[in-house]
Symmetry: D2
Subunit: 471 residues, 4 copies
């Protein structure tokens, strides 16, 4: 492999993450690659090796000069070099260590990888990069999306829309209220993802987790471990085998998945609202076109489709993590290859968010069409509050009464209230109505409960909880 | 269906939960059935309907007498009756409401199911029973298991065992230390499950979540909702559609799954330690038999196998929940049948815990066999600390030196230390060793790092965190 | 457990299969219970034990009288008795054998379970009941459904419907053609399921699959195995360990799953066609009501929703089977409990088919509404064939030309063909059109390709392949 | 994006398929990349476009010269160019078509993509490359593996090994017999995979599957479709919507998964047989080292671990395919992104086979250790046939008798047969034994049934069925 060319044509890659979804936005791909690629793996491992020596220097176990040497070496080593060395040694971390050692003096050599086992480095580096990826990339993207959603929810908090259950017209809501549901769902999971990321742990407890090797030299191996991890911004695992307890990463990926499911649901809704017959929202409507009738023939919801599709591609990866909970004794290695693929779902969510944010910011909303759809069945919508009001005022058989009235109204082409006024047995109930109740019966579009107020409340809540700037 | 016989032979059931795993321990099955059966579903729904009227009475919207009527009715209604009514009305909650209404006066009737939509009742009742199931059954079982594990960990904290990675002998640990890993993993997820259960939410916000109907009568529908849920010990959903946001239940089931994975891993370890060639633990060893050599021919780890098998049966159910995150608009009903199956995985974990606890309490540990297995490769175990010590004292090629020494030791049948003393270039390193380091080289069984101390620490930590009584 | 009451209230069961979905249609539940319940498990196991002795008698190893004794005993033993015995012996097959043995003479006893291992009985009995369940229940249900689908497809083969891609109006099809797609998909998987069922295998090769015990007595143990399985209508496993190779059952469950996915997709389509805005089909439309305007307010697609929901509940079970492919050495027992749950998904499909068939037979189709939806965008539909025709006749920039024409048509409110006739550069193309091509441009509803013919073809094909009677 | 550099450093890729697992064996990666990369996607799509015109020429619809132009153009177009064009047009197939068209004369242009919809090209190209990948790469690899397994099975058909169930010593088999089980399992699935690959279908039926556009010109659109697909070696879909019925690909991926599960199970067995205490096989044992005692300290089963780990990484992808069975109406696009990831699991299996083959060919087998492990419990192994023989000869309580004898034998340190001869009530049974039966009781290692013969049979069967050359 020595002399092998490490560049290759993007399109010769197998995973769409590394061809199609890497060329849409090369800059963003480079950003996520900084955490999720093999280069990133190795760079973070080098960082851990470096910091290990830094703490040795702090403790006076080695000199500051030794640390400087190691620090410089760690900055210089390239992935290609490590892989060439691994081709020789057949051991990835040994290869990385050799690449550092060949750059430094004999005096410094013993301090590289001091008493560590490979997975002290591997698991610590992974926790670090997954944690930082959320802090630096994913969470900020979620914040951006959340702000877009809040913007829509607030702007449309009074935009009448028929609520749909079973795909059938039910009772009215507002479009902003429907979006506020997603604001809340996303808000909760954002906090959980942040928490899960901050809970990822490092370790420096050796091959079987009992600090066997480091205890040969130190009386306080756990303090030493804490010092190293502290420098990296990580907490130690409470106890470990060769590897960190799998549940920290499991919870992290569950949060990734939960966030993914929320945006997939949102996208599914937006997708359906673009159906030819419904036509309430549009991906590419510019703001000033809202409500325009000059729509081109076909405007496919390709971005929303893409997000649901990415969710289908990556959600099942969670299954790998559940299976990887099981590792025999102090560890079998059957989680090694599989865990190398964890970045895929993480990248999948990042790419989906990056795509969704601008699509949301340019979401076209056709308020006229929403109203038109609402009116399709508005006659029947009155029937519901009417029946509830009659029942509450003691009508013995309100549901049946209203059903018959509705039929009569249809035949006579008059409205329910007019009909009721003509009937002796019903007129009295009308007189018992409050003004507000009467208004709703006359104007079913007012039958939206506290949709608008709730929208405002939810937006306010999450702006505060997430510390978002007002827009 | 009227007149249909609602009793049936247990063995005519299809799910093993309802035949095989219900007859092993009928009393326990009855306990979990009180939360997870269809009777439980209906009883909890009746409870919610009752409390709704209780709060109406508290607010003076109806009289106390009305509430008494409803309360009594709710206590009387039987599942059979509801199902017979549903066979007529084709609507499950309408059927339940009718069964209450037919028992009460005309004056009381309007207050039953007052302004509620079916899922106000369904989701609230579900959150309540899943929450209480953790509080009353699952968490106490987890506590019991945790106490057994802590007991083993502490008792065996100094029991030498070879640590295994890749199924290969690595460095020594203690058996207690190996168990302490599970104490810690389980401890974390116990707290998470408790948290997830306490976060399950109710709702009383109507058919599309905007409090449309209740707003016809009340200015403070959210306060009213809070009052009802408060009586039930639940918090309201921050916002809902027809249904509560799915992520509360998703997180709950993730915790169920995470706990299941941990006990499956533990069981897998115990299973492998019972292999004929390893033979370090046994399911049915009575305490006084420990270390006895008169084992019968075959002692299958059937209980540990069962637990891993149950995990395989139920873990995939998580994917139903991930799919159920997606519900169109204010809700499609494609989560209705699927969510009726959620109790299965929950019951699966409960049954597995119930089986595992006594098996753990009677876990036989063969300390002699552990020692014998350790000694199989103890020679090679010294090689590792020796190489680390030489390297740390500046030996330029410690790894290769020790490798050659090992071969020589094998050929000459002498031990490594004796050999080293004979060699001029190595003798000096030996002199640099501390007493403790020398002791480890002479007695590889001492090379267990801080295994014992860590075990104690972890047990102490979780006894405190979980408020367990000392044993 | 002795004296324990084996009857229990249906509603105290945990799995919805054994409460809710067992009471909808008790007769059908009883039918499937005859293959998928624990009673069925035991009855099939007794059958295998019986047939084993039958072949011994045929070979003269035991007498016919012995077989008669065993046969009678096997018919008498009840599940309750076996479970009571298992409570004593702690071994399920040993218990079953004891229950037979206690009914027969000492002379007959040695021939019961002759040289067999438990899983010879368990796996053979399972293969038999799963095979027969397809033959007797599932396949006939699939045939019924297929006939309903063919009936619809043929009846509606000329019913114009707008084809939808991305939820957007695309090009026209016919409703029958859309259904024919499902006829074909289902047809393929019906044959595969039948094949997979017929491929399920039995075994009689002993504890580790090498015919160790039976070889003590017979020179032709494989012939003996074949004779026994032949009596049961099964083929032997080509080779086995303690258990039959898992892939036969894996393929069976994959076919179950594939069928389930097809009816879930069909149901999803029917569900969406019932959306308030689309409204092309209805679950409960009686034939004579088609197109009626007296629809009640809300007609939820609850049956189609249920089928998709059941699919979500059971599809993930496939992953249990994929995990159960892995069993250590001659077998670990971690597939024992998990495989007891396989009947759940099988029952899930049966219940879903049983529900779907009558719903399909009464499917209401609103042809007027289909036409109305088609006309929403029929103007744009002409644009496509027009562009294709122009291009084919050599127009250098047909796509752009038609795009401009479309805009002009909208502004001038005239139609595309009229406009084209007025334009010198386009008129000549119109003259080149065949009559048929011109007809399509004038009547976009004719632009359905060979939808009708293909529908007929597909229906014909599957009626023949499946040997269905003409309707 | 124009001018963007399409080369990138391998290690900057995110999927391990495109970094780590692409550099182990760059030549093999290049091979699979020829079917599974984005370059491959585009090349196969260009091929379909080319052949479409070839058939037009054959039919005389366009000239041979036109076809030559198109053929040359299709050979020249590079992925980079298509992506640059897509960046402009926002449509991938339109971009590909444009890249062809810009290379050809105006006369030729109308014939490119003639009446086709994008997915006529996409699905046909995918079916073709997945089909050819099995034919050219996967199936040959499976054949290679199968030959290695057959070689081992035959060579070791008489190598005594204790059979293990529950991880406990059960009855003896031979190592070859244990391997033959995998020969058979793999054989079946190889045939199924080959069949599934040959069943992948193409289509040329247009945007909604009704041949709408092509019917404007041809009376026999299905014949035309068949001609094009025939040139590509594919069969047409019996009926399609915008896309080919998903079950053809679903069955293909199921077979991929089933094969993966089998080699994962085999690897798991080999992994466990390498446990320090069992130690029966070794990954790197050269043939001449068998039984050598100079083993280095730790020889990890990293390759077998890797294969199980890759299975855990890719098996869950099957879930994506099950979800992708559902596509709304004539198609929603939510299977577009997800199906782009299908090559991952396919590549995963190929990489795993490529790794497994040489590891199998160099599998070290320690026959002495196998014998030693067998002897650990050989005393107890006799007990089983003894009990069976006594029972068959009419001993009324054989099981209990032998249990007591076993205890006595242990205490008196004599063997079972000697003891029996001393007992009046048992001696007679011994006399009834055939020579062969007596031999087995004296030599439990002979109690292997027909293990050897069955091994030979299975190897013979699959060599014939798969047409393998004898080795």
């Amino acid at each position: 492999m020595i002399g092998w060319d490490h560049d290759k044509n993007t399109f010769d890659n197998i995973s769409p993450l590394d061809h199609r979804y890497s060329v849409n936005d090369p800059e963003f791909y480079e950003t996520i690659s900084g955490y999720l690629s093999e280069s990133a793996v190795l760079n973070y491992q080098l960082k851990v090796e470096e910091i290990l020596v830094k703490v040795l220097a702090q403790r006076g176990i080695c000199s500051k000069a030794v640390y400087k040497e190691v620090q410089q070496a760690c900055e210089e080593v390239l992935p290609e070099e490590i892989y060439d060395e691994e081709a020789r040694t057949r051991h990835n971390i040994r290869a990385l260590v050799n690449c550092i050692r060949r750059r430094i003096s004999d005096e410094a050599k013993p301090f590289v990888h001091w008493t560590a086992t490979s997975y002290d480095i591997v698991d610590t580096a992974n926790s670090l990069r997954y944690k930082k990826f959320v802090e630096d990339v994913l969470y900020p993207l979620l914040v951006e999306l959340q702000q877009e959603l809040i913007k829509i929810a607030r702007r449309e908090k009074n935009t009448l829309q028929i609520g749909r259950t079973h795909g059938q017209h039910a009772e009215p809501v507002t479009f902003g209220f429907a979006v506020a549901e997603y604001v809340d769902r996303l808000g909760h999971q954002m906090l959980k993802l942040k928490k899960a990321a901050s809970e990822l742990r490092g370790k420096l407890s050796g091959a079987v987790g009992a600090y066997n090797a480091v205890s040969l030299f130190l009386d306080d191996p756990e303090v030493f471990e804490k010092e190293v991890l502290n420098e990296l911004g990580l907490k130690p695992a409470p106890i470990s085998t060769q590897i960190v307890e799998p549940e920290f990463m499991l919870d992290y990926m569950h949060s990734i998945n939960a966030c993914f499911g929320i945006i997939a649901n949102f996208s599914d809704d937006m997708r359906h609202l673009q159906r030819s017959e419904i036509n309430e929202v549009g991906e590419y409507f510019a703001e000033e076109q809202v409500g325009s009738s000059t729509m081109p023939h076909k405007r496919n919801p390709i971005n929303y489709e893409n997000i649901k599709s990415m969710w289908k591609a990556f959600m099942p990866q969670m299954f790998t993590l559940y299976m990887d909970q099981i590792s025999e004794h102090q560890r079998d290695l059957t989680n090694s290859a599989s865990s190398r693929f964890f970045p895929c779902a993480v990248a999948g969510l990042a790419l989906s968010l990056k795509r969704l944010i601008p699509v949301c910011s340019r979401l076209g909303i056709d308020r006229e069409q929403m109203k038109k759809n609402f009116e399709l069945n508005s006659q029947f919508i009155i029937a519901e509050p009417l029946y509830i009001l009659l029942a509450s005022m003691g009508h013995p058989d309100a549901h049946e009464e209203v059903r018959r009235l509705t039929l009569e109204a249809q035949e006579s082409e008059s409205d329910l209230l007019t009909l009721m006024k003509r009937k002796d047995n019903l007129r009295k109930y009308l007189e018992g109505l409050s003004d507000e109740q009467e208004q709703i019966l006359k104007n079913p579009e007012k039958y939206t409960g506290i949709a608008s107020k709730k929208t405002e409340q939810v937006c306010e809540l999450w702006q505060k909880k997430l510390g978002l700037k007002s827009l």
